[in-house]
Amino acid sequence: MLNAEKEIIKADHQAILNMVEPNSLVLDLGCGGGELLEFLVMKKNIRGQGIEIDEQAIYRCVAKGLSVLHGDIDTGLSEYKDKTFDYVILNQSLQQLKHVETVLFDALRVGKKVIVGFPNFAYFRARLRLFFRGRVPVTASLPYSWYETPNLHFLSTLDFLDYCREKTIRVERKVYLTGEKHISVLPNFFANIGIFLISK
């Protein structure tokens, strides 16, 4: 499980890297220990700012030389002026937010573009587990049992695209992944992660 997870992280970081222009200014919401930001700094010479709630993760970010703010994403964006950042990243954090809409719209306000990555709840293994075994899905991208999951929202990639259409959010790029593999056929069925470059 751990190795599989690691590979997923690598693949999604690579996908996000491909979406980001060099030398841009990036805000990573829920940046964890700063692995993605450090990767972007190294490969694309971005300037980054992270926001993270876990104190120990803050120490890991600081050790990487990153600027990071200890705090809650749900309340962390209001002070930034419009279009402060070239990109705002919500990678694997969207589904854990209390106020998804507020944060997403604030991210679209403070960032010229927003990159959103989340586990696809309609991934076929999740469907099989629910349908045949009658159990809530536990997959590589949704690795938690019901009693320990930090995830508050469960959505499929189609749910997200519907939402963007409804709110007139432009979807500029879509990347579907399972492990390291890019999925192009029936992505809402075969991909366990979706990553979207969106703007308003």
Binding site: R47, Q49, E55, Y59, V62, H70, G71, Y80, K81
Partner: protein
């Protein structure tokens, strides 16, 4: 505890504004001459780019690290200013000065007023945190240092760091305000006022003119006891003292029965040996009057500046609660300043900035490494 690696250190003195009326205070009053007591540690490099200014809190002084001759107690931040710690004496050059209006070698109410040849006492003008910083700037200039690598301090030291950001942003590359606030809340002012009233209610205080007689020790002891209560937390007090009773052979009805009582009295008794009651009045007033947004919103002072800021708060600090540090962070975000913020999980209360050296060392040492690289503007 790590022992200081510094050799014997000594306090030095810098005197400026020797012409009458040369140093103009925020209140428009004038002061001259001005002497600032300071210490230095480490070596200033050739291009004078490795200098760090250490800013002390209410009861601190210029003696931040190392040992004075004949003393076995090191400086107040010795566990931070040391080889391999937050402030590496091999890499950086440190200056720490006693604040203007202090009583540990810098000009203050206990200094001799050249006009009367007697201590100033209450003739000493009201001094602001900004005035303290201006005096520090004169000291820094005397070293020929253009830009400090950082200015750093906790509590009132943090206020001075904020005042540096406002007054001399071009002269610093970064600032580290720790456990501090953009301005005092009514609660903080209230605690300071009780301390001041305790001093002024002491019959020995005599409107500040006590230098030829007995000083108002009782009042100052009470002020210090109140201070100590606010510096600790419920948890840290319970851990340190519990309800432990002292052994009193001849109990008087109101002797110090509990450990905590004895501790507060002991700290108070020690404090009056090294602190001047009038300085306590002036310095606490300077803290209460401080408002980083007084002239213009703090974020406007920062706006467009190439600076980096590291803000540190502590969870159990109820005197300077983390929300006050977050206000500093908010202003930095609004101004587009590259900022890091950490709320360290500590049970020590406000004292944590002197005690949580491991976390501070981690945050600060990496932050200092990054300053030379970053552009500071987002």
């Amino acid at each position: 505890m790590i022992k200081s690696n510094l050799n014997r250190v000594e306090t030095k003195y810098f005197t400026f504004a020797s012409k009458p009326g040369e140093f103009v205070l925020e209140s428009k009053e004038r002061l001259s001459p001005v002497t600032i007591a300071y210490e230095t540690y480490g070596t200033l490099n050739k291009d004078k780019s490795n200098a760090i200014l250490i800013l002390h809190a209410l009861s601190g002084d210029a003696h931040a690290a190392g040992f004075h001759k004949g003393e076995d107690k090191p400086g107040w931040w010795d566990n931070m200013i040391c080889l391999g710690r937050a402030f590496d004496t091999e890499k950086y050059f440190f200056i720490c000065s006693n604040v203007l209006s202090g009583c540990r070698g810098s000009t203050g109410p206990s200094s001799i007023n050249p006009k009367t040849d007697k201590p100033y006492a209450l003739d000493f003008p009201i001094v602001s945190i900004g005035d303290m910083v201006s005096a520090q700037k004169a000291l820094i200039d005397s070293f020929g240092i253009d830009k400090l690598l950082t200015v750093v301090g906790g509590s009132m030291g943090g206020m001075q760091a904020l005042a540096w950001l406002i007054r001399y942003p071009e002269s610093i590359r970064s600032a580290i305000p720790i456990a501090t606030a953009l301005r005092h809340s009514p609660q903080q002012i209230a605690f300071d006022e009780v301390g001041r009233q305790a001093i002024m209610a002491d019959p020995n205080w005599r409107l500040g003119n006590y230098y030829e007689g007995n000083p108002p020790d009782k009042g100052l002891i009470i002020a210090r006891m109140i201070g100590h209560i606010t510096y600790m937390s419920d948890v840290s007090m319970a851990e340190k003292f519990g309800r432990q009773k002292k052994d009193n052979k001849q109990p008087f009805k109101f002797t110090a029965d509990f450990e905590v009582e004895g501790y507060l009295r002991y700290r108070g008794d020690n404090f009056v040996k090294r602190f001047d009651a009038n300085s306590y009045l002036y310095i606490t007033k300077a803290m209460d009057n401080f408002d980083a947004s007084e002239k213009k919103p703090f974020h406007e002072s920062l706006s467009g500046k190439s600076l980096k800021v590291l803000v540190i708060a502590f969870k159990s600090d109820w005197l300077y609660p983390a929300y006050q540090s977050k206000e500093i962070v908010k202003a930095c975000k609004y101004a587009g300043i590259e900022t890091s913020y950490c709320e360290v999980d500590s049970t020590y209360g406000h004292d944590a900035f002197l005690l949580e050296t491991q976390e501070e060392t981690h945050l600060i040492s990496h932050f200092l490494k990054g300053i030379s690289k970053g552009r500071g503007k987002i």
